[in-house]
């Protein structure tokens, strides 16, 4: 599934290893083991895999939070390593599980940090607009992070990532710490924003159900390699190989079990 011609983002034989902390004998831990793939502009790609399979490491090579040992990452045709990290990151939205709101800044200042770094200032109207994108009203602008719930905090995290009008949105288990209801609502909201703002989105998750419901392309990682690259539809039809299918089996069996329970009890 090579789409190099209209890929916004392209990984070319990306490899990264960490000095192993587990074994002493100078062994290395290959986190990403020669990944090549293109991400088309406008697509919503989910990167799924077991914990430790290298998803975060791969994602961070894009905004240079961790450079690869070898290989290249091309953004709109240019090697990201040719750009200064700070400049590159201001063009890329990044949302992660820890959120990382600046605790000493209020919501408006958190959201406006990107423009401020570039020497401009987000107007009150712009802040209100960004808050509205994540379904919060303007009164939140003056609050401090510690006054917000986990879900509200991550909404601010998303608004902050969108403040610089990025083309590309990277998300690393963005909803991992949220309760299921909040998680579902925010997931749908992000998917809507993806379409509304013409984003290209790459989302890391270990939850196959979430990936199936939100993404239009799913990459499955295992031990640093991409072992499946399918649409949700084809995955549900049984494509992608045993590792991918084992992951799909979990939500499928859960759904079946739930449906069965509903049938047995009859309508309430």
């Amino acid at each position: 599934m090579d789409q190099p011609s209209h890929a916004l983002l392209e990984f070319v034989n990306v490899r990264k290893a960490f000095a192993s902390t587990v074994t002493e004998d100078s062994a290395v831990d290959v986190a990403v083991d020669g990944v090549s793939c293109g991400i088309a502009a406008g697509s919503f790609v989910a990167l799924v895999g077991a914990s430790g399979s290298g998803k975060s490491t791969l994602l961070k090579t894009v905004n240079r939070l961790g450079d690869p040992d070898s290989g290249q990452v091309l953004l709109a045709g240019d090697n990201v390593q040719d750009a200064a990290p700070a400049m590159l990151r201001r063009r890329i939205g990044y949302v992660f599980q820890g959120v990382g709101l600046f605790p000493h800044m209020n919501v408006a200042d958190n959201i406006g940090i990107g423009p401020r770094l570039s020497g401009t200032r987000a107007s009150d109207g712009r802040i209100a607009e960004l808050l509205e994108l994540v379904e919060l009203d303007g009164s939140y602008a003056g609050r401090m992070p510690h006054e917000l719930s986990g879900g509200q905090r991550q909404r601010i995290g998303v608004a902050r990532a969108l403040a610089g009008n990025p083309q590309l949105l990277l998300m690393d288990e963005p909803f991992g710490a949220l309760d299921p209801l909040t998680r579902d609502g925010l997931g749908k909201r992000v998917r809507a924003l993806h379409g509304q703002l013409n984003l290209t989105t790459m989302m890391v998750t270990h939850d196959m159900a979430e990936a199936l419901l939100l993404a239009d392309r799913i990459l499955v990682m295992e031990k640093g390699r991409i072992v499946a690259d399918e649409t949700p539809r084809s995955l549900l039809k049984g494509a992608g190989g045993p590792i991918a299918q084992a992951m799909v089996a979990v939500p499928r069996e859960q759904a079946a079990a739930l449906a069965q329970m509903a049938q047995l009890d009859g309508p309430a």
């Binding site: 700070a86 992660f96 820890g98 990382g100 600046f102 605790p103 940090i113 570039s118």
Partner: protein, 511 residues
Amino acid sequence: MNDILVNLASLGDKLAAHVLLAAAALGLGIIIALPLAVWANRSPAVSRVALGFSSLVQTIPALALLALFFPVLLSLRAVFGEGLPTLGFLPALLALTLYALLPILRNTVTAQEQMDAGVLEAADAVGMTRWQKLQLVEAPLAAPYIMAGIRTAAVWTIGAATLSTTIGQTSLGDPIFAGLQTQNWALVLAGCIASAGLALVTDALLGAIERGFQMRRRWLVWAGITLALAGILAAAFAQRATDDNAIVIGAKPFSEQYVLARLIGQRLQDAGYAVEYRDGLGSAVVHEAVTSGEIDIAVDYTGTLWTNQLKRSDNPGRDAMYEQLVRWEADTTGTLVLGRLGFENAYAFAMKKDRARQLGIETMDDLAREARRLTIGGDVEFFRRPEWLAVEDAYGLKFGRQRTFTSTFMYDALKGGEADVISAYTSDGRVAADGLLVLEDPRGALPSYDALVLISPQAAKDSELLAALKPLIGAISVEAMRQANYAVDRLDDKRSPAQAARELARTIDAP
């Protein structure tokens, strides 16, 4: 109570000097510790070395740390030239700065270690440069912790600064040291109250700034900073008033030295000079201070210079020793020995008169005969001094028991029978007051300790100054000196060193 208030009111210049010293040390400590902590945070090796070094510094007693800078600066004169001050503000500043480093460094490093990894990742991810990250995220989040470290450092520094008196820096330690020596408790308390009060006020101000950072109340931060700066400025203004051309008279930390320094100072003031006193200079420091011109005038003793400066252990006799000393000073240090004051403050063995009569002791030879049955009391350094070894040798002294007391309590021990014989000082007022018998030294084992006036090479060029002091030479009898010392030392009807000096001056002018 009233005494304490009067003393407090007279501490203005000491307080100003104290504030400036502590503020400068704290400021320098901050300037060094903050970048060092940022560096330490990026490099574990730097962190280990910096924290290890500053912890080590903390284990050195402040008094020793201050004293150590004297030889260090002295050796640095080879690099920076003779103008480098070895006493006073500079060594005090350096020692206190080292002392201030640890709490600031440790708190800043800890603040950075404790910082939420997610927040730091976000700072990178939104596109902050290293500098922006430091300025916009790390510094504001670390500020309350750093302030807490600065607060601790400030309190330590203000406390330790009282010890800078011993290396010739004016501070609130001056009244404490002088008061301790002369048992003037009102003076000691005044010094303690002033320095504790300063520490408390500073702590409250810095605490307000810390809270301002914590609660993100800018006005509180600025109010605190403004008040602190105003205090420092006021101190600087008060300091400017002191005279740079003043003649500086040094004194070791005991009553006789305080009285003689006042005696000299009062004569100079009468001759139109401005005078400053550096009281409580360590005994080892005084000679170097006068030869290097840190101070202009000091009183020292022949025997002390003979052993400590000339490193001699022989005893050529009183006059020969003095003449050799005068020549040695002129040849090697350029310091002028103006002359001998006329009395000796020697080590001597003293007993209660009735006890001596009972045992039939009049001389050291008699003492040696009875020594095995007796207890000797000495001051804290006596049994390690060459004089003691010389006496032990000359008379074959073997005491039954040997005990150490501070000089004040030595006399009480003799009175109370805890010692039979003590290493007294011949000019001490308590020798006469307690009716003690000073044993004769027929073999001349104890060197002489003629009090003499040292004048720094620069001050020695001032003939008017020399003329003003000439009348003191040979004018002070040991009886007069004892009386003056006793007036300061006794508990009832106590005189200040300045009062005692004036009374002593009267016996000189009207012999």
